[in-house]
Amino acid sequence: MDVAIHNLVKTYNKGEVNAVDNVSLGVAKAELFGLIGPDGAGKTSIFRILTTLLLPDGGTATVNGKDVVKDYKLIRREVGYMPGRFSLYQDLTVEENLGFFANLFGTTIQKNYDLIKDIYVQIEPFKTRRAGKLSGGMKQKLALCCALIHRPVVLFLDEPTTGVDTVSRKEFWEMLKRLKAQGITILVSTPYMDEANLCERIALMQNGKIMSVDTPPKIIQKFPTALYAIKASAMGRLLVDLRQVDFLASCYAFGEYHHITFKPGKEGEQQTLVQLMNAKGHDDVEIKRIEPTIEDCFIKLMN
């Protein structure tokens, strides 16, 4: 395991806040691992402990076989870290930032250029522009280059896609896949559930606890009941009416469709449901069975 965490605990405010509550997980070599969860789930605290910036209050953690407390100096040589807010020097140019970070790690831009080439060519036209004047997507790419410039063994990316538009996000994940193919272990955190599918394995986190760790398909397999999608022409009203149906166990809006589950023993009631909705004046009611998404699983685990 490149990253191994056992019963990790981190509290703030003299024990009042359980930021990390007995977390255990492992990340294998060259794995693309996602920590999925909303703000306050504990993702940043875990990252900071793994990158040796914070001391845990309980439990142990190792990165590339080294202990985060005792061997922190060694770990700091070998990991790449991209904290939230893409910490870059705003008044240095793209080139200067990259050069600085290369120097910081005792290497040169040329030495590991092959690793960052695909990413860097996209921002190279702007290499004399100050980092502060780049768009969110550009900053993200530059920060990634700076984190990779020394060819780290493990790459920690804390919410790298927050505040970035959809297109840039997709490109970013493509870059991560190529990096993984080069043998770099990558640990990413994100609040976006749709990005979970892009990881090899994920951990769903909420309130400092891990709710589930597995590959996305397996987590989806573990969804306990059948899931259905239903839509009609007036979605807002449909949601209200569905919530009043007593044989439905859950009902959540999911964009174009609402996702519903039936109470145990009531799975066969789909047509009854359609009739009920028609009776309430809904047109074009459509219902179908679907495979759950990670978000469905997350919501199920939250309750």
Binding site: L53, L54, R76, V79, Y81, P83, G84, S87, Y89, Q90
Partner: protein, 368 residues
């Protein structure tokens, strides 16, 4: 109007819920009133005076008796030769010397014409003027009493000599103090703010998670300010020497060396402050409060340290600018060399070293 009051009420909430700033807001004025009201004064008290009584006769003993009885003087030594008097002035231990020549009594009683020499350290012209006035007044009084007793005019001529600053220029007091202030302020403020800015923007996190010792990154920050301060120093010296007629009697190299020590101290202080603060605003506040006030009060250029009550004099010993001030005056005004100020240099250098060590040791290698 009502909306305005709503805003006012909200602002009250903000102010009272920020405990740290509140402490400063209420604490500072109280400290200032106490200090300025009770401790700091321009009044001359307990100035150290050396009396060289080469006459040891009746008249000189009487005058010395009266001087001793005066509250303003603290007679350090009695009976010294010329060389001893000179070295006492050089070491800054005395502010005034009164020299009675041999045969003082005879000159006075039989020739009706005696001379007393008064030498004052005019590197602090205010103190020098005041002290010589006090001494002269006491001697005049004695002369008047002689007139009453003997109904004969007996002339005691006081030969006043202001050394180090014969023209009694006020700049000699001020300029060294301003030098200390400028060097300290710029270095402490800029260094602490610059380091804390890294914390605020988040780049400090990345610096920490790297093989490079982050303390060295911080030292790298201090280097530009070191050179900037030397340039500042040069400008002040040039201006004060050319425009304000400040003397520069000693070694310039020594001056720069000593100034570098003060700069080092200031940079370490800046680092120390940044180790313990997380926001640029706090760093700025502390730098200004912690630097400006003690420097102005305890350096000795606005209020002579000897005039302060004992506890404050002791406090002034830990203020680096106090020692720098003595050193600069010794070099620029008195033209002295390292041999005369080695003690102060060691103290200043020691402070720089200790502060440097403490700030390195307390540098946080982690975020909490």
């Amino acid at each position: 109007m009502k909306q305005f009051l709503l805003f006012v009420r909200k602002e009250f909430y903000h102010v009272f819920r920020d405990r740290k700033t509140l402490l400063l807001l209420f604490g500072m004025p109280i400290a200032q009133i106490l200090l300025f009201g009770f401790a700091l004064t321009n009044e001359i008290k307990n100035s150290k005076v050396v009396i060289s009584d080469q006459a040891r006769d009746e008249a000189s003993q009487q005058i010395i008796g009266r001087i001793e009885a005066s509250r303003s003087f603290d007679i350090e030594r009695v009976a010294m030769n010329q060389a001893a008097v000179e070295s006492a002035f050089k070491s800054g231990k005395i502010k005034l010397a009164i020299i009675f020549p041999a045969n003082f009594n005879e000159d006075l009683m039989h020739h009706h014409n005696a001379k007393i020499q008064i030498i004052a350290d005019a590197s602090d012209p205010n103190t020098a003027s005041t002290l010589t006035s006090y001494a002269s007044a006491i001697i005049m009084d004695y002369q008047k009493d002689l007139l009453k007793t003997y109904s004969l005019a007996m002339n005691i001529h006081t030969d006043v000599r202001m050394i180090y600053n014969p023209e009694l220029k006020g700049t000699t007091n001020f300029v060294p103090g301003v030098m200390a202030l400028v060097l300290l302020l710029v270095c402490v403020l800029m260094t602490s703010v610059s380091i804390v800015r890294e914390k605020e923007t988040g780049t400090m996190e990345i610096l920490l998670v790297s093989p490079f010792n982050p303390v060295l990154v911080v030292v790298a920050k201090a280097v530009p300010y070191f050179f900037l301060s030397l340039i500042n120093l040069t400008v002040i010296i040039i201006l004060s020497v050319t425009i304000m007629e400040m003397p520069l009697n000693g070694s310039v190299v020594l001056l720069y060396f000593e100034s570098s020590l003060l700069i080092l101290t200031a940079l370490s202080l800046g680092l120390l402050i940044s180790n313990n603060t997380d926001s640029q605003q706090t760093a700025m506040l502390i730098s200004l409060m912690a630097m400006l006030l003690p420097t102005m009060i305890f350096t000795g250029f606005m209020f002579p340290v000897e005039n302060m009550p004992k506890p404050l004099q002791i406090i002034s010993n830990v203020v680096p600018s106090k020692w720098y001030y003595i050193i600069v005056k010794s070099i620029m005004i008195k033209g002295l060399g390292l041999r005369a100020i080695w003690k102060e240099t060691v103290i200043l250098g020691g402070m720089a070293l200790v502060l440097l060590l403490i700030s390195f040791k307390t540098f946080k290698t982690r975020l909490q």
